[in-house]
């Protein structure tokens, strides 16, 4: 893939977040990676979305050193680069403060798989990280944020493409996907799923997740070699 195409895709993913009401002002960022060249394209920090053009996207190496662009990259860059280094299967990362997903993060609660909408996209609960220690917050904070996500997925042996999102405790969600469009799509669905989980839990506080059988059926209807959804193959 040409870097020019990646710039366009990353911009488009950022704009999709705005169109779907997931970001207020500049509260969000999307990036994508070119795995062949090991280059990351990310939104610049604090620039208005309606002024963003492909050439404003910042290009960095996998460690976050800027290699192209005059603007400063998103202040969450170090979380993005860590996720790319540690989750080799992902092609894009999206961070938003979308209302309901953020509300679960603020409550320190994971989002249980309460229905098939969830199961179509997330093969199990969307986890929440433990709170960061004061030392981690006072140290390499943005890096530590990514580390909390990666450690959680490793310890619980979760495949990042099977559960392409994580809530950071007291903060907000990070999502990812195979490419920028997919990551933005997952962020939009996460917010819808979070909203319905909120409704379900406030209506019936002890609601339980769907059965493993239903989780399997819906997830594998949309993913993997036996997927039957859509016009694909």
């Amino acid at each position: 893939m040409f870097l020019k195409d990646l710039r366009t895709q990353v911009l488009e993913a950022n704009l999709e977040l705005v169109r779907r009401g997931l970001v207020l002002y500049t509260f969000g960022n999307a990036s994508g990676i070119d795995r062949e060249q090991n280059l990351i394209v990310i939104k610049p920090s604090g620039v208005d979305y309606d002024e963003l053009k492909p050439e404003h996207m910042v290009v960095t190496d996998i460690h976050g050193t800027v290699v192209e662009g005059n603007l400063k990259p998103s202040s969450d860059l170090d979380t993005h680069t860590l996720l790319y280094r540690e989750f080799p299967s992902i092609g894009a990362v999206v961070h938003t403060h979308s209302e309901f997903a953020t509300s679960f993060a603020q409550a320190g609660m994971y989002i249980p798989a309460l229905g098939t909408t969830h199961a179509d996209y997330f093969y199990g609960p969307v986890p929440v990280t433990p709170p960061l220690t004061d030392a981690a917050i006072g140290g390499r904070y943005v890096h530590e944020t990514g580390l909390a996500i990666v450690n959680y997925f490793r310890q619980h042996k979760i495949d990042p493409l099977a559960v392409p999102a994580c809530l950071v405790n007291g903060h907000a969600p990070f999502c990812w996907g195979k490419d920028a469009q997919d990551a933005a799509h997952n962020a939009v669905v996460l917010e819808a799923v979070a909203k319905m989980a909120y409704n379900t839990l406030t209506l019936k506080p002890n609601s339980e997740g769907v059965s493993q059988a239903l989780l399997d059926r819906h997830y594998f209807r949309k993913h993997g070699p036996s997927a039957t959804y859509g016009q694909g193959q």
Copy 2:
């Protein structure tokens, strides 16, 4: 009715769901039946709504065998066909994951008839099916989903045109009607009724349904031979 008109009506019903905010991306589908020819027209699977044209609609027989169209039909086809076979009075089926109706389905709760808005459209609670067994989920799942609806209505002797909607446990609502426009209209009203039921129950958890007298008065004001609402006879 010509099949061409049915294609247009089914497309229009699908678009009405989008306009009213009931579907996110491709999460929904509407179909209609020509009872004379026993042919069903249904939305294709996973195609963007803004690209949909009448000629993209898929035509199947009453058992779901495609007889016209190059696209794959909605993955929920087997639920639609079963409802058409078992509910001979209905002319169209609509499935959405609309937020509040889905939240009740996720909570495994029926929607009680808490007010006249509900009573104008649904002559009694909107039921929720029992959870499917693992065997049903692992077997002909989409067919079993329809069977759970049909069995519930049979066992409780509910006329499907008097209560033109059902929540599938842990999943989402299915609605129907005498034609595609009517089914989509019922899906839109169901969501409004579900939202107000959510508000009512979170405000006053032990809220009871309206009296049978009020249910009768409102339902028969809009339906049946003594209807007085609207300009029609």
Copy 3:
């Protein structure tokens, strides 16, 4: 005032309800009265809002007998006419099934005066009627709906212009005002006030109303001879 102007005002009030998201499909109606001629102008029943023109408005006498127009008047006409007969100070009536006001009506709960937004428009709680008896529902139901409102205001000595709205138990709100624009405005503010009351009560269930002093201060800032709000006088 010419009847032609009243038709235009009543149409405009109906459209304001749509613009502000208070009505779904045809769930709502507004009317106005010409007190000199004792003629009422009301929306026809079940006609799409985007087709409504001033000439579609139906004109009736104070007892609801149609004197002009080929369309059937709103099915809630008898509530409107009763309110005009019993509340001589009002010039217009609006009925909606707006989401949050209707949710309070469904819960059988009045809307307490929890803040100054409420106090600016409603001089005390917005009451809810007692449930209608089966006999009233089975009898002149629409008339009885109006009677429940009027009886409540009489028994509690509430001035209908000081509290220009009432929730009908298990049904929805009726609002009114000095003219059609004012009644529609009150319906829009009622919904905003109901939404904030819902939030307040779900956040802190035992929330109490504002003090009489604050109610007086805000209400009389906008109403009566010492009003200081706006550019008037």
Copy 4:
């Protein structure tokens, strides 16, 4: 700064409140101050937003005496002028009845710092004033409203630019900032933060605020000499 520019900025701040859905009809007002000339520019009372032009803005001295303009200033003027006199670091004031911030004010609850979205803008909880006494309400009410805010900040030694908002008990929020755009921006973010705090507290009633370390990290990432967010410096 020329007064003409301030008029334009204040108008633009008022319009931003409308665009972001923070005001219904005329429920809101923004003002700005020229600290060199000690002149305040404020929205007129009760004028429709879509008719507002820069020349409609009212100019007063720091005590609220109108020095330019034919329209009456906002009825909340005395709160604005007091805040300008007592908080010399602020350049603009915004008052809205935005839904969720007002709901907290009605519940008499402060908004705890539950997440990083809050911490990015408000260095600690957004406080709520104690209820006004009947004497204060019956006296110089609008002035007393400002006094309740100022007294709270003084007693608790809160820097008004570090926490640029306060909820007035039983009423609604007042926000401020270094200029009109900043104050409006703070009002928009306050509403988003209030909405997420509402969700968090209804999901998990005993939710606690973020740690002091996280509050420090996020607040000082966006404010002060070591800010790293945006393209600034």
